[in-house]
Symmetry: C2
Subunit: 520 residues, 2 copies
């Protein structure tokens, strides 16, 4: 019986919405090779499997994984169009030396490849299209009842968010005291687990959800570890060997999904049983296992991780204050010289806890503050109206007033410079960002100034610029063109002033901005 | 003749105000061993000399240096009281294997040893006394005419400053277009130098000045490299071998002065001919050569150095904005987890350049902003009244109004918690610092609130506190006790409020603070 199974030919499948030829996959799609193999012993720890895919001089080696029931899989995301040849390597003859070919076709519409860093502080898809993260959190959405998960997908489909932070492990915390439908390991709930044996059903479910996010253009910021367990299940204290095996298993299963980002942890410093050295090791394990080098980060509670580690592609930061006023958020850019993503600046909601009771106005203001500093701010929502359906953790329906305003912000950013909003004069004018000589966005925050004298940072501009202006009401989501055009000229060492002098009248409201674009 | 000189006995000298026995030096004083040796060839590069000092299990090895005229010296700062034995090692017989003993006596009054880091973000002398840096800059003061140097010393003697940033190399820059009286290398001004041969006279002068600073309680933040040369002398482009030799020579000569701090550079990123790797190497060279591990930093222009390097004891930062408003400066603490010293936040003065035209009020305000964030801000002064005597660079006389206010700030900080002012609730209440449950300093900055409701961050306090209060006028330098005492109790999760409610009436002025101390 074993012999018969082991001699079955390899079966190649492609994960995609529509069935396609077994040996064809679009660029940045997921090619899957399924191989029958031994089911005896403990395949999760005893069997090694990898495959190397080659295309001209390009070689990509990926780990395979055991998917239960005697089936092994290798997943691969072709990074270039054309024919790829592969061959497997295993410590089991049934899985070793299997070879074949797969053709990568041009990507379908909407498939722009994985997101990477662009222009030091910003992001773009692999096809070069700028990517402006407007993220949210639904930490435990895949651990809720199926109907709620479907509601979450529906809300995301219609919403502004193109990134979601989500945990692999379930969550045990305030508002989160329910057992999940399924667990990542073999064993018995709540805390008798065999960390040597994964539960493939759990991961197949996770992958299905990640694939659904991909298909609606949402990046999955997959959180590998978190402290919201506190020993209840013990996934926060498995030990180094189990942690590493788990991390590699997740990468083997999910690495070929183009919309995956790795977040080593949420609030790493609140995980009591891991040291900084453990986290550094896990960063190495994940990035070594991932040939595509998906975006990779680690998120803090109150103590920042050493984000200078070059394997961390961006700094994922929690700070409840950095985007509450001008001139703060940009300091992190200077320090880390990589994109700064504030994955938690407190949440819109009505929780007693101060981290969960921002007004919608404040949530939107903070996202604008971050943008004007050349950084990116994530959303979260904590209304306790239905304590088992709080968006921040469970997903479901969005109740707040900030999401549609963040859609407006996203449109503004997507219409901005392709290289991202940059400070024009970083330590002198914290309200103005854009691209010198081309595009200026001046955000007034809570100030109600009545009028704005047209006056911009000079930043090396030597010749007059002619600009058109629009008033942006970031709360009411309006863009009002200002009639005519303005010419600005150097006025002293540091500024450009309108000549003739000009003032733009502003409504008596907070949260306004002026956008100026150079007339070519 | 050479033989005769080489057989002369080693001569031990002690640098100190009063003559003492040749083999006795106070703890943290400077013991100097002078040895005759070869003057032929190039002693600066051909002769190696080091000495190892032992005291029980403690071994300290220091490099010697050639001081010209056939004299070699070894300087040593005993870190413990008691008898130390030494022996030399050299590639020249005349200097090799010389041994002797020196007794370290208890330090004299005012000698508290070198400054080190205390409580992660703060400083203390080696004897445990807290050290609160109130620094200034006179970058090129040792390169001015002698009378001006003496004026600088007189101003420092009467002023608030206990740290001065000063360059080894002369400065060629706006307001700095004079040749110095003396140069660090053999050769011909302006740019024909033999970087292989130091000019001992130059360094003896520098040491004398550092010693005078020591004797008046001023730390010398010695800047090894800077960009204000631009090839005029070429000290900014000597090449790696000469840079390293120079750095080691400075450490050999000055390392035994207890008041020395190493600043690898001022505005490192403006030095065009050095890479980040060069700076990392120079940090290693300096710290490897310095057995005492004096405080060591590197200062930026607009691009921050990677201050996470553990050999950098504190982050020396230029930022013209970080202390201009609340909530910014503290971000650097979180990132670097070491003391943050803002060595340039713009200067009090009337220069055209914006980095040199702060009002005195703004200079003082920025120093308070930094202090309340748990960081330290340096002073500088740029009045152009006498363009050849601008304090910032030349020294001379202080003309501004901020120094006496910084003396007031220094007194407030020195009367504060021994472990330094710490944020009480770092991302929530950026105006309050001190020590939870003991000492609170609430700074109002430019706000004129009229009255302050007694209300403090709770930060884990569970029991009522009784406090006395004082109003501090940071500009007018007054401390006004508020009659009576206040009892504060937990009011919700996050605050302590006065019970019964209380308000402290404040004058209608900016730049006020309230200091509250718990009655024991």
């Amino acid at each position: 019986m074993m012999t018969l199974r082991h001699t079955l030919a390899a079966v190649a499948l492609v994960l995609a919405a529509a069935p396609v030829s077994a040996a064809e996959v679009e660029r940045w799609g997921t090619f899957e090779l399924a191989l029958p193999g031994p089911a005896d012993g403990n395949p999760f720890v005893e069997v090694t499997l990898a495959a190397t895919f080659t295309h001209g001089p390009t070689r990509v080696t990926v780990d395979g994984f055991y998917d239960g029931d005697g089936t092994y899989k290798v997943r691969f995301m072709p990074t270039e169009v054309g024919e790829w040849a592969y061959t497997t390597a295993s410590n089991r003859p049934a899985l070793d030396g299997k070879s074949g070919r797969v053709t990568a076709t041009p990507p379908a519409a909407g498939n722009r490849g994985p997101v990477g860093v662009r222009n030091t502080y910003h992001f773009a898809f692999a096809d070069g299209t700028p990517y402006v993260p407007v993220g949210t959190t639904c930490y435990a959405w895949t651990h809720q009842a199926d109907a709620l998960q479907r509601a979450t997908l529906a809300a995301l489909r219609g919403g502004p968010f193109n990134k979601i932070r989500m945990c692999v492990f379930p969550k045990w915390y305030a508002y989160n005291r329910a057992e999940p439908p399924c667990y990542p390991f073999a064993g018995t709930a709540p805390d008798r687990w065999d960390f040597d044996r994964f539960n493939p059903e759990f991961f197949r479910h996770l992958e299905r959800r990640v694939g659904q996010l991909r298909d609606m253009g949402v990046e999955a910021d997959v959180i590998l570890f978190h402290p919201y367990d506190d020993g209840h299940w013990g996934f926060d204290r498995m030990g180094a060997a189990a942690d590493d095996r788990y991390a590699r298993y997740v990468v083997a299963r999910l690495g070929a999904y183009r919309n995956v980002w790795w977040s080593l942890a949420n609030e790493f410093d609140f995980v009591e049983r891991k040291t900084d050295a453990d986290w550094e090791r896990l960063v190495r394990v994940v990035t070594d296992a991932d040939p595509y080098r998906h975006l990779c980060s680690i998120h803090n509670g109150t103590r920042l991780f050493n984000q200078t580690n070059p394997r961390l592609t961006h700094a994922s930061i929690q700070n409840g204050s950095a985007v509450a006023d001008f001139g703060r958020a940009g300091l992190y850019r200077d320090v880390y010289r990589k994109p700064i993503v504030f994955d938690e600046v407190k949440y819109e909601g009505d929780f007693d806890q101060r981290w969960g009771n921002l007004s919608a106005e404040e949530m939107v203001h903070r996202c604008w503050q971050g943008a004007i500093a050349g950084t990116y701010v994530g959303h979260g929502e904590t209304y306790r109206e239905k304590p088992t359906e709080v968006w921040w953790s469970h997903g479901g329906a969005l109740r707040g007033k900030s999401p549609e305003r963040l859609a407006f912000l996203r449109r503004v950013l997507e219409a901005g410079p392709a290289d991202g909003l940059e400070p024009i004069d970083k330590w002198q004018d914290e309200r103005t960002a854009g691209k010198t000589g081309e595009h200026y966005l001046v955000y007034f925050g809570k100030e109600k100034s009545g009028a704005w004298p047209v006056d911009l940072p000079r930043a090396g501009v030597d010749t007059p610029l002619t600009l058109t202006a629009e008033i942006l009401d970031t709360w009411n989501m309006t863009v009002t063109p200002v009639p005519g055009a303005f010419t600005v000229k150097p006025a002293g060492r540091y500024r450009l002033a309108a000549d003739p002098p000009a003032r733009i009248a502003l409504p008596d409201q907070p949260y306004l901005a002026v956008r100026l674009r150079v007339v070519k």
